[in-house]
Amino acid sequence: MSAIGMIAGGLLNVALVLLAAPLAQGILRKITARIQSRQGPPLLQPYFDLLKLLGKEDIESGEVPGMQRFAACLSLATILAVACLVPMGFFAPMSGAGDIILLIYLLTFCGICTLLAGLAAGSTYSLVGISREMMGMIALEPLFAIALVVGALHTGSLRLDTVLQGSAYNAEGFPWSGILMLGVMLLSFQAFVQRVPFDIAEAETELMEGPLMEYSGPKLALFKYAQMAKLIVYSALFVTLFVPWGSELRFPVGWLFFWLKLSGLVLLVTVVAATHARYRIDQALRFFAGLMGVAFVALILASYGH
């Protein structure tokens, strides 16, 4: 494809993520409210929240104000960069430009931005928050990496577009590894999108909001936007890798199917988030360690062709 086409496709993806992310968050809050038998905020509430935050005064505080600014901009920037690479119903033209190592790197980088934010604040609460986030990330990011590597082992190449088009199931034998990885990813999906029961580090009333404690106004809007966009981007990745049936149809139907599957996943995330309590960090780590064992079994099976 021509360069202009690639750039336009990437920008279209970015625009889709930016528009859909607060709407997904609004649906999530409304459904959580209905499960709790109350009325809940209007569906467009997160848009109002973001606009209000953008209109507030910008206070620079904490130990290192420069890093505060840097971390806020970087978190949204990395998520939008991932959005350029991920197919959103139609195949993303830019994914040929990278390989899975780039994707893993960008996704981990987004988590690191939270760590930078907590370090920039420098108060006790933020440091405790980021230490928990670090422990969580060490146990969590390999799971997604193994899912991508399983796909790479099946197709034999590290390029992102072949992996994403191939999904996790095109092994030569029966795709046991794909099914195992589906189970692992479903169980740990809540942690990737930072929702209960695994939102240990951020937005936690036990730690006075942890790493984001010193953020106010526009920078907080960037972080909240990044958090909302994570839900859409991770769901899109999950749907492409593990639930690829139906997206190969022609333009309107395939696109609608994709967004239908994505909203089904958002619904699942909502229901799980509304009915569970938050895990402590040691319970969460034990959970992820168990999942990592299963993921390694899947990796071994994949390297043998299953």
């Binding site: 009325q39 509430q45 209000k52 209109g55 984001l212 404690m213």
Partner: protein, 178 residues
């Protein structure tokens, strides 16, 4: 244009920080009641946040105490503009029954400037929601100062127009002795 839009959205999504500076927690419980499913204030977009830097509105409860005065002032200064302060309960509005105690400095407005008062001991959750609605301009306030003056003094020899003031003392010009 952007600025106008952002300022108009201020009323639609208020994030609230709850600061109790020494009260009995009665008003705290009423504020928490307002967040439960029965009186649900989240339908107005109001959310409870844990850090004053994220908040737009500080709900102050309890009178200003000697020990927590510094902390309350710092929490107020940590909030980004535009900000509002609501004094909830009789203790925050005027000191409550503790106004002359040894450790109470007085009402919260000795320390932070208060925008809206919601008296009560404790105020009902509906009263708190009503106060917030008055602040957002959705309803009119229902209180007005009341004054009653007896213009006609009932016994004929006393006439109001004959009151003369001499410094601290006010006397009648013509005092008639019986």
């Amino acid at each position: 244009m952007w600025k106008n839009l952002c300022q108009k959205m201020f009323g639609r999504s208020l994030w609230v920080y709850h600061a109790n500076s020494g009260g009995c927690n009665g008003c705290d419980i009423e504020v928490l009641n307002a967040l439960t499913p029965y009186y649900d204030v989240e339908r107005f977009g109001i959310k409870l946040v844990g850090s004053p830097r994220h908040a737009d509105v500080m709900l102050c409860q309890g009178p200003a105490m000697r020990s927590t005065a510094q902390a309350l002032k710092r929490a107020y200064e940590a909030m980004p503009a535009p900000k509002l302060v609501f004094a909830i309960g009789s203790c925050a509005c005027g000191g409550g029954v503790w106004f002359d105690s040894y450790s109470v400095l007085g009402p919260v407005e000795r320390i932070v400037p208060v925008n809206y008062y919601i008296p009560g001991c404790p105020p009902r959750p509906e009263a708190i929601i009503y106060g917030v609605a008055v602040a957002l301009g959705l309803v009119n306030k229902k209180t007005v100062p009341v004054q009653f003056k007896e213009l006609e003094l009932p016994i004929p020899r006393y006439h109001r127009s004959e009151l003369r003031g001499e410094g601290e003392l006010v006397v009648y010009e013509k005092a008639e002795k019986i």
